[in-house]
Every structure is written in structure tokens, then in C-alpha cells.
């Protein structure tokens, strides 16, 4: 990469500094391949239908929001496998608390964000203070949440008032609210990473926590903060889903594969599993890739179980496309 010198023009500098993650290339490829499949198997019906195209993006919203949180955590060289069940508990608790009444919405939102805070805090503390491996810590946490959900609820519970459904179904002009929210979340994520002290420190902790520590960064606090934010994004995703479904069910999270797919989209977006490198815009492309694939499969009437197989394979291959280049032996 050529060095940009301070004497280069502002324009040149800005252009060079906007790194376009290579994953956008994959996004275009995916788009084209799906387009081809569409042509062959359904005479181009999918891609010529704007409603479906919009649907791709809407489907991507839930995954997209939680993927931002996952990106933050992975940047810190950690990981969060509890997001799926956090989404579930959000869906269930919010519709339970709201009971279809608009008046109860604010209280419910606060309470559920509180739960998310607790989950993220527990994860962060377990990892930093008890020094438990992040995979195990968050997987264990997901079991705990799962148990709590299943113990309390077994099916759809309560309901979400119509006013809340604005989140999932509302539009501002021709564009769904959810897309605005998605963009907002990504902008917030970007801002956090690029323009705050926290973001700068997070990159340090993930890149080399020893160097960060020696420079005076409070590494534990930063990581706990990342985990809390991640759980909060999971809660936000959960709100979105429950407003779509109008009522929450316990299997929402795991069925949507939000844990694995948020990891996979982060990794194909160019964020390194080892931390310290990457960002949210790449993740967005990864999310869109999965969204396109998902919609295409659905529209082509692909068997849902076959979809599951393909998703598993795609996730592994997506991560492999990056790890294959590393020199160290994996475990």
C-alpha cells in the first residue's frame, strides 16, 4: 500500500482512506449468482419484484442489528454465543410485559433492555474476571437463558400492541422504518468505533491487549462494555422481530441462527476473529449476502432443511475463506 503523505490533496486522502472492504465484491457476486439462479429457476421473477428486493433488506434487519454487536465483541478478540437466546428472551418478555397495551410499552422496553444489560454484564465479567474462555462463558450463558425461558414460557405469550408494530411494519414514505433503524444502528456502530475513545481502545484491546494495557487502557472495562453493547443490540433485534411477529416465542432466536450467522457475517465482512481489525460496514455486506441467499432460497422454494444444510456449509466456508491464510495451527 503506498504511503499517503500529508501533502497530498484532501480529496486524494479521503478517497484512499475509505477502504472498501473486499467483501463488497463477494456481495456483487452473490447478487449476480442469485440473479442467474432466479433466471433459470423462476424466470427472473424474484429480482424483478421490488417488494421482494425490499424484503431482502427487511429480512436482513434483525440479523444486521445483532451483527453490529457481534462485530464489536469480535473486534475485542472475544465472541458472543448468547445472542440468539437473548433475542428469544427479548421477544418473549416484551410481548409478555406489553400484553397488547400501548401504555405498557415504555416500561416493557426499559425492563427488557435491563435484562440485556444484565446478560452483557455477566458475560463480560465472567470473561474478564473469572477468566473463562469466551466461547464457554457465552455458551453457558445461553444455556442459562434458555432454561429460564423454557421454564417460564412454552409457547407464544402475550402480544405486542399495534403501536409497537410500527417498528416492524411502519414506513416513512415508501421506505420501511426498519431500514432506517438498520442504517442508524450501523452509523452508530461506525461512530462508536471510529470517533470515540471507547472505539479506539477496543481496537487496542483486540489487537494486542498487552500493548493496550501498557498504554493505560482499562482493558477489562472496555471488553465488558463491548459485551454489554452486543447484548443490547441483540435486544434491539428481538424488539424488531417481535414487532414483526406480533408475539414472542422462545424459539425465535436459535431458529434464526442469529448466533452463528452474526459471527459468520462479521468474519466475511473482514473482521478478524483474533480481534483488532475490521469494522461494521463489511459486516453489513455480509448481512446482505446472507439476506440475498436466504430470500433466493425461500423464493425458489428450497426445502427449509436443505437451507439449514447450506447455511451450515456457507458459515464454515465463509470463515474458512479467511482462516485458510493463517499460518498457525488451529485447535
Amino acid at each position: 500500500m503506498t504511503t499517503i503523505t500529508a501533502s497530498d490533496s484532501w480529496f486524494k486522502r479521503t478517497a484512499r482512506s475509505i477502504h472498501i472492504p473486499p467483501v463488497y465484491f463477494f456481495l456483487i457476486v452473490t447478487f449476480l449468482v442469485s440473479g442467474l439462479l432466479d433466471q433459470f429457476y423462476s424466470d427472473g421473477q424474484i429480482f424483478s419484484n421490488p417488494a421482494i428486493m425490499l424484503n431482502i433488506i427487511v429480512r436482513s434487519v434483525a440479523l444486521g442489528i445483532v451483527a453490529v454487536g457481534q462485530t464489536l465483541v469480535i473486534l475485542g478478540a472475544s465472541i458472543d454465543l448468547s445472542v440468539a437466546f437473548t433475542i428469544s428472551i427479548t421477544a418473549v418478555m416484551s410481548s409478555y410485559l406489553m400484553q397488547g397495551e400501548t401504555a405498557r410499552v415504555p416500561m416493557a422496553i426499559l425492563a427488557v433492555f435491563g435484562i440485556g444489560l444484565l446478560i452483557g454484564l455477566s458475560n463480560g465479567l465472567t470473561i474478564t474476571k473469572l477468566k473463562v474462555n469466551p466461547f464457554i462463558a457465552t455458551l453457558g450463558m445461553s444455556l442459562i437463558i434458555k432454561g429460564i425461558i423454557n421454564a417460564t414460557f412454552s409457547n407464544y405469550t402475550g402480544s405486542v400492541p399495534e403501536s409497537f408494530e410500527f417498528f416492524g411494519y411502519g414506513t416513512i414514505g415508501p421506505i420501511p422504518v426498519s431500514i432506517f433503524i438498520l442504517l442508524l444502528v450501523y452509523l452508530a456502530g461506525w461512530f462508536l468505533l471510529a470517533r470515540t475513545k471507547f472505539g479506539a481502545h477496543l481496537y487496542g484491546v483486540g489487537g494486542n491487549s498487552e500493548i493496550a494495557r501498557l498504554s493505560g487502557v482499562r482493558t477489562d472495562r472496555v471488553l465488558i462494555g463491548a459485551h454489554i453493547i452486543c447484548s443490547m443490540t441483540a435486544v434491539l433485534s428481538g424488539f424488531f422481530l417481535v414487532s414483526l411477529m406480533r408475539s414472542g416465542a422462545p424459539w425465535v432466536g436459535p431458529n434464526g441462527l442469529y448466533d452463528l450467522e452474526s459471527i459468520a457475517t462479521t468474519v466475511i465482512g473482514g473482521t478478524a476473529l483474533s480481534g483488532g481489525k475490521g469494522g461494521v460496514w463489511g459486516t453489513l455486506a455480509g448481512v446482505l449476502i446472507f439476506g440475498i441467499l436466504d430470500t433466493t432460497f425461500n423464493q425458489l422454494g428450497v426445502n427449509p432443511y436443505l437451507k439449514m444444510i447450506l447455511r451450515g456449509a456457507i458459515i464454515v466456508l465463509a470463515v474458512a475463506s479467511y482462516t485458510i491464510r493463517s499460518k498457525k495451527e488451529a485447535a
Partner: protein, 335 residues
């Protein structure tokens, strides 16, 4: 560092010293298990103080123990295998269709399952070794693939029942046995596998190399260990154990779609309780078997105390975190 030899004062003091030293070395899983089991016996003498009841317990606990042994091999090598639960689901669902309600298909069905187990283990091992994807993520992805394949094959719902002869392994007993009254087939299978695994792990070059790569992969490489080969074989072994475990579970439990869910965490928990270090380099077949027994005993205890099933998930999650934290923090103190 040599141990300083204390000149024995002779007599009782020495033998007490020796006994205490011997007691300190017993892995905690055994006393924990026996204490819990005694509590169970106290609360429900009919089930847990009778030979009948004990054998029933062992029949239920045996499959998890089999899974735990397989998982232990992978953990000892420094990795994780999260496909085992999905493999159990696969065995139960796919066999229900393969059998086509015809007992004569039992043997071929089992052989096919074992073959598929080898393929799954092979895939896991190759992806970790050659594509360098960490085993946690590899096996999580494969878990989807395997479960999806199972569901795809049966179209989402069980396609038949599991024939009696197929289920015999997990369900039946040898009756009228002296002393033990009745002995589950599953227990004998477990014992057989335990002996085989213990032998493989402790008495072959292969087992020693597993521990070596889990302990220090770099030193192993420099000592000529074929790291990739050993690792692939280990994943294959674990998958095969999961297949067998699946046959046993399907045996006494019958078919249902959610069977097998969460078993991967349970088998890891059993190993952790059995003293296996999650970083690799240590393992013991009898310890993890009793770790599995302990877990099963805890589940039974919670049930008996009226705690609904979901809370056992919570307890399990807590056990795993606490056990890992405990082992991690106490080994830090040692340094």
C-alpha cells in the same frame, strides 16, 4: 525438583500421612458423585437403594458417558466437538426411516450410521486441520449441517418407529443375573467401550500423541508428531462415540425431533466435572464417565426436588461456567 524424603517416624503417623496423601489424590468427581447418589438414595430409597433402581439409573446415564468419552478425546487434543448432539439427532431420526419398520434392516442401518459417523468426523478434522477454522466454529457449523441433513432426510418428522431389535441396545436388560439382578445392555456396551477407549488413550502411541498435541502443539510438531493425522482420527473417534450414544439414546427413549439437543454441552460439562482441562493435555476415561454419571445424578436430583426440566439447563450452564472458572483460576494460582 526432587521430593524431600522425610525420615519416617514410624508407626501410626506414617500410615496416616500415607493415607491422607492417597486421599488427596482422588479426583473430586468420585466423592461428589457418591454424595449425590447417597442423597438420592435417601430421598427415594425405592429407586436408588435397590439394585433394580441403580441399574435403571445406569442405563439412562450410559449414553451420556459414551458421548463424554468421545468428547474427552477431542478436548484432550485441545479442541472442541459440538456436533455430538446433532449426531445423536441424526442417528435417531434417520434410523427411524432407514429401518422402514423392518427388524431385518437393523444391522445394515447401524453399519450405515457408523459409516456416516466416520464421514462427519473426517470432515470436522479436515476443516480444522487444513482450512484452519477453529474447532468451535467448525463444529458449530457442522452441527447445523448434520441436523439439517437429518431433518431433510425425514422431511421434518419421524418417519417410522425404531424397531425393537434396534432399540435393544439402549433399552433391554440381561435378566436374572446373580447379585445385580438385571444388567442393562447399555451398561455392558459402556464398559466395553470404556475398556477400549482407556486402552487407546493410555496404552497406544496414538493416545499419547493426542495428549502431546493438546499440551504443546509446537513441541509435538518438532518431535515428529503427525498433528493433522492424529487430530482427524480424534474427531472421527468422537463422532463414532456419538453415533453409538445415539443408538443407545434412541433405544430407551424412542424417536422425537428434539432428541439430542444440548447434548454437546452436557458432554463437555461431564468432561469438565471429570477434571479435563479445556485447553488440552489431560484426560481420563473413568473420570469423565463418572462425570457423566454425576451430571445425570444431578439432573435426577433436581427432577426429584420438583425442579422443571428447563431449570436443569440453567443449572448445567452454571455448572459449566463455575467448573471452568474454578479449574482456570486454581491453575493460575499454582503458577
Amino acid at each position: 525438583m526432587t521430593t524431600t524424603t522425610v525420615t519416617p517416624p514410624g508407626g501410626i503417623t506414617t500410615s496416616l500421612n500415607n493415607t491422607w496423601g492417597w486421599i488427596k489424590k482422588i479426583p473430586p468427581v468420585y466423592p461428589v458423585f457418591f454424595i449425590i447418589f447417597i442423597v438420592l438414595g435417601f430421598l427415594n430409597p425405592v429407586k436408588y437403594q435397590s439394585m433394580n433402581g441403580i441399574m435403571t439409573f445406569l442405563r439412562t446415564a450410559a449414553p451420556l458417558a459414551v458421548l463424554a468419552v468421545g468428547e474427552m478425546f477431542v478436548l484432550a487434543s485441545g479442541g472442541f466437538d459440538l456436533t455430538v448432539g446433532a449426531i445423536v439427532t441424526f442417528v435417531v431420526l434417520v434410523s427411524s426411516k432407514l429401518l422402514a419398520n423392518d427388524p431385518s434392516n437393523a444391522l445394515p442401518a447401524i453399519l450405515i450410521m457408523l459409516g456416516i459417523g466416520i464421514v462427519i468426523g473426517l470432515l470436522n478434522g479436515l476443516i480444522v486441520s487444513y482450512l484452519k477454522v477453529p474447532s468451535f466454529i467448525t463444529t458449530l457449523g457442522m452441527m447445523l449441517l448434520v441436523r439439517g441433513s437429518a431433518l431433510y432426510y425425514v422431511g421434518g418428522a419421524p418417519q417410522g418407529y425404531l424397531t425393537d431389535n434396534w432399540r435393544a441396545f439402549g433399552r433391554n436388560y440381561f435378566e436374572n443375573v446373580p447379585v445385580f439382578e438385571r444388567v442393562p445392555y447399555a451398561l455392558l456396551i459402556l464398559i466395553g467401550l470404556a475398556i477400549l477407549s482407556h486402552f487407546l488413550f493410555n496404552r497406544t502411541n496414538y493416545g499419547k500423541q493426542i495428549l502431546a498435541i493438546g499440551d504443546n502443539v509446537r513441541a509435538s510438531q518438532l518431535s515428529g508428531v503427525r498433528v493433522r493425522l492424529v487430530r482427524v482420527l480424534t474427531f472421527i473417534f468422537c463422532a463414532l462415540m456419538a453415533i453409538i450414544g445415539g443408538i443407545l439414546i434412541g433405544g430407551y427413549g424412542g424417536v422425537n425431533v428434539t432428541i439430542g439437543e444440548g447434548l454437546e454441552m452436557q458432554s463437555i460439562a461431564a468432561c469438565v466435572v471429570g477434571g479435563v482441562l479445556l485447553g488440552g493435555g489431560k484426560g481420563s476415561v473413568p473420570n469423565v464417565i463418572f462425570g457423566a454419571f454425576t451430571l445425570q445424578a444431578i439432573v435426577n436430583l433436581l427432577n426429584m426436588l420438583g425442579l422443571p426440566k428447563p431449570y436443569t439447563d440453567v443449572v448445567q450452564g452454571l455448572i459449566i461456567i463455575v467448573a471452568v472458572a474454578y479449574v482456570g483460576l486454581s491453575s493460575q494460582k499454582k503458577q
